[in-house]
Symmetry: C2
Subunit: 213 residues, 2 copies
DNA sequence: ATGGGCACTATTGTATGCAATCTACTCAAG
DNA sequence: CTTGAGTAGATTGCATACAATAGTGCCCAT
């Protein structure tokens, strides 16, 4: 463990994104320090960073909690994501290399396999694959400013995206979108990719904002 | 001074944005601690926050410097801003109240006055007014997610926006855009406002990216 | 019984000291 | 004269100790 603060941030981020630490959970400095076997100083720094990523809510003198979002907030964040991510995809497509397409293709294929109804269905596995799929696209856009702006909104999406919530038809659409995105990228058609990403996000939003949650 | 870290962050942010601490300047923890009469701990926290806002570059074991941007980075950041700020303006217009229009109007009017050639011209005063003008619009959009995403890019713009660099015609246009934005807001025409904001940013970008800098 | 106030505990915010790392300079060898 | 290793100083990263604040429960008065 080279740098305690880095390591703490990494570890916490991972645990929050994977759901091991649930949304709204209290993050006491002393407890985390004990758990990671470091002092409170790097823990504070890690929490500060995660707060800037939007993963953690930090209230003065009252400590940190894993961030939660209300319905309205979720709507606003999705609006932002709808603005940024299709843009990122459009930027990414012209830069995509063959090996990137292969990687995206594999992710999309695996997601479709895990999503297919039946005894091999594994909806939990989808979250991580989905995260990597979108993350790779954003990375390929090669625009640090946009990537930074997207970090928060994608985190929010990851935490709140539960494929168990998807209606069967919405799930099928979502997985098909990924495949279609790869096809658009392979064809080098940035506008196609942008369009399907927009549709993909609208589909996701419809699921996430449906009902009362 | 209630909270040292807050105060340190506020003070540093102010000094960086106003140019008192120039871009690229080294920010030694011990020196800052001495200057603000606090220990290094809250200074470190303040620097960490400013780094998350994009105002400060933080390198492990090598300390903090006021952030600088290369030409390509500036271009990318402006692209993001072009995406976000017109959107924010479009969201803001329907929510704007009469008093907000009055405030915006005054800012735009004062800017035009300070910008008018002659002995009363004061280009330095424009930076702060401009910052408040754009900041108010963003605030009125009432979308924390977008506001957060915009914070970094506007900071960058503020630091690099030097009205002394503007060619006379570009300056006239820029100030006229502000006035027109107020007119569009007063008319309740969100699309008009969005369009003129886009033009405004293109005009600014042309100045900032011109030449070799 | 209930509500308010107060003390106590738990937790965060800040200061300080020590360890690890980097920077700059010296000095010697080629 | 240049280059490189080595070392001393400065600076950051982390740990620990202390101060300040918020949360909790108890006691007492009404």
């Amino acid at each position: 463990m080279r740098y305690a603060a880095d390591e703490a941030a990494r570890s916490l981020r991972e645990q929050i994104l994977s759901g091991q630490i649930p949304a709204g959970a209290r993050l006491g400095e002393a407890e985390l320090a004990g758990r990671l076997a470091v002092s409170r100083t790097p823990i504070r720094e890690a929490l500060s960073r995660l707060a800037s990523e939007g993963l953690v809510d930090l209230q003065p003198n009252r400590g940190a909690r894993v961030a939660t979002w209300g319905r309205e907030e979720l709507r606003e964040i999705f609006e932002l994501r709808l603005l940024l991510e299709p843009f990122a995809v459009r930027q990414a497509v012209p830069r995509i290399k063959a090996e990137d397409i292969a990687a995206l293709d594999e992710l999309a294929t695996r997601m479709r396999r895990f999503g297919r109804p039946g005894q091999h269905q594994d909806l939990s596995a989808l979250v991580d694959l989905n995260r990597r799929f979108h993350g790779l696209f954003i990375e390929l856009a090669d625009n640090p400013a946009v990537a930074a702006a997207l970090r928060t909104v994608t985190h929010v999406a990851i935490i709140n995206q539960n494929y168990h919530d998807y209606a069967p038809d919405a799930l099928v659409r979502s997985l098909a979108h990924h495949v279609e995105l790869v096809a658009a990228a392979r064809a080098g058609d940035a506008e196609w990719a942008e369009a399907i990403m927009r549709a993909h996000l609208f589909n996701a939003r419809a699921t996430m904002l449906r009902g009362e949650r």
